[in-house]
């Protein structure tokens, strides 16, 4: 606890507790997911992947929604508060990570259940699209400039994404509606879960939500600290400049006067 007393990390008492609870949740999930829950009658053991895949997707969507809301909360009030911008950025980064993992793990699951790594169905295609969109968002955040410039650019981009994502999703749904693929499972790949399996899935969602909270708090604090450092760095640089322009010695002052 010595770290928190001096504030030398992004941790606080609350996040330590959150972290411990999350770890317990992870252990719980692994126990139930891999061992205690039964195999599915249709999918067999591959349903165990679903206990990670579905919560992972849920977390990514949650993260992107938070980014959108935080962006709006930055942009629309008269007084812009950079805290919202940092939350938006942190959440988007987490969202990209989990969306990426969702796709990779999903491909493994797909290989087991459908026999293919990829299907051009609406859900997968829109998911891939979402991933690329937010990778672009993160790239825009790194364009440089003041935090306020970054915040405004990113916020506008995030809100444009809110506009375009449903449009793309709808387009893809319409498009894939032309191609009805037969599949062993129900067409959208959902599985009927009940009892212990449903419980495991819900535990996964709860655990991943806690994980998200822990990650986003730490990441936002880091962004806050980094912005502060940039400000301090800028102030120091200006101070240097100012000092260089002030004559220090009598000779310099004399040279100025004559």
């Amino acid at each position: 606890m010595a770290d928190t007393a001096t504030g030398r990390t992004t941790a606080t008492h609350a996040t330590r507790i959150l972290g411990i609870v999350t770890l317990a949740g992870v252990a719980w999930l692994i126990l139930f997911g891999l061992i205690l829950s039964p195999a599915d009658k249709n999918q067999g053991e591959s349903v165990r992947i679903l206990y990670l895949h579905a919560p992972s997707a849920w977390l990514a969507y949650l993260a992107f929604i938070v980014t959108a809301i935080a962006s709006a909360l930055y942009l629309f009030p008269k007084q812009h508060s950079l805290g919202w911008d940092r939350l938006a950025g942190a959440s988007a980064e987490i969202g990209v990570l989990f969306m990426g993992m969702t796709l990779v793990v999903g491909m493994l699951w797909g290989r087991l259940t459908w026999g293919v790594f990829w299907r051009w169905d609406a859900r997968l295609t829109t998911t891939a699209f979402l991933l690329v969109t937010y990778i672009g968002y993160l790239a825009v955040r790194r364009l440089g400039g003041t935090p306020e410039q970054r915040a405004k650019r990113s916020a506008v981009l995030a809100l444009l994404a809110v506009l375009e994502i449903p449009l793309v999703h709808f387009s893809v749904e319409l498009w894939r509606g032309l191609h009805q693929d037969a599949s062993v499972l129900r067409p959208n790949g959902d599985v009927e879960l009940d009892g212990l399996m449903l419980f495991t899935l819900l535990s996964g969602i709860v655990t991943f939500t806690l994980m998200y909270a822990w990650l986003v708090i730490h990441r936002t604090r880091t962004l806050t600290a980094e912005d502060m450092l940039d400000d301090v760095g800028l102030e120091l640089a200006l101070e240097e400049r100012r000092r260089e322009s002030i004559p220090h010695t009598i000779e310099e002052k004399g040279a100025l006067l004559s």
Binding site: L75, F129, K152, L157, L160, V168, F170, S171
Partner: protein
């Protein structure tokens, strides 16, 4: 309202005049798109298949050319800080957005018409008489939709140092609805796949896209270029 429209027309005229004087779109971008169409032929090398997929190739070549046209549209501005000068002079961002979009749409429309003609010669495409109206409607909607989206994201990414590489990454995913919708609509109009009646909903999709980004762009363009 009259003043706004006057400003918009002025800006559109200016854009087209700059292009006419330099002929860059005409001499460079159009040939680029043409070469892309030829290269598709090399890569795919199957006459019957090419006629089938010609609409998709036309739309793809348009998308690639769009990237270059947008870069160009904003490179001209940043060379002399013209955009900032216009803003400081009190030109409204919406007039700027509409003016640039109109000019872009004109160039895109000319490009797309050229590509359809090329497809007829290179790929053996034919235009169904019953599909002409659909083709023209799609042509107009796609040109306007791509122009507004391009101008919007161009304002964000193009023109400034180190940002140009960001434009394709940002723009191409966003135009996916136009890629999907315009291709299906043109397929129907050219008789490559489906009936003309099948094609109209897809044109509708492109039109919705154009309306959404026209509105969104009008609002968002100002904040994006005011830095």
């Amino acid at each position: 309202m009259k003043a706004w429209w006057g400003t918009t027309r002025l800006i559109a005229k200016r854009e087209l005049l700059v292009e006419w004087r330099s002929r860059i779109a005409l001499n460079q971008v159009f040939p680029f798109a043409g070469i892309v169409m030829v290269m598709f032929g090399f890569a795919i090398d199957d006459t019957r298949l090419m006629e089938r997929i010609a609409p998709g190739l036309i739309v793809l070549a348009t998308m690639f050319a769009l990237l270059i046209l947008v870069q160009r549209s904003f490179a001209v501005e940043s060379e002399d800080g013209a955009l900032d000068a216009l803003r400081t002079a009190g030109v409204s961002s919406s007039a700027l957005f509409w003016g640039k979009s109109i000019a872009m749409a004109v160039q895109l429309a000319a490009l797309e018409a050229l590509l359809v003609v090329l497809a007829i010669f290179l790929y053996g495409s034919t235009i169904r008489p019953s599909g002409v109206v659909l083709l023209i409607a799609t042509w107009l909607a796609a040109s306007w939709g791509l122009a507004t989206v391009g101008t919007l994201y161009g304002g964000l990414a193009a023109g400034a140092r180190g940002r140009e590489t960001l434009l394709p990454l940002l723009l191409l995913p966003v135009v996916a609805p136009v890629l999907i919708g315009a291709t299906r609509a043109v397929e129907a109009a050219l008789g490559a796949r489906g009936s003309v009646a099948d094609g109209w909903p897809w044109m509708g999709l492109v039109a919705v896209f154009a309306v959404v980004f026209c509105a969104g762009g009008t609002l968002a363009f100002g904040p994006l270029i005011d830095e």
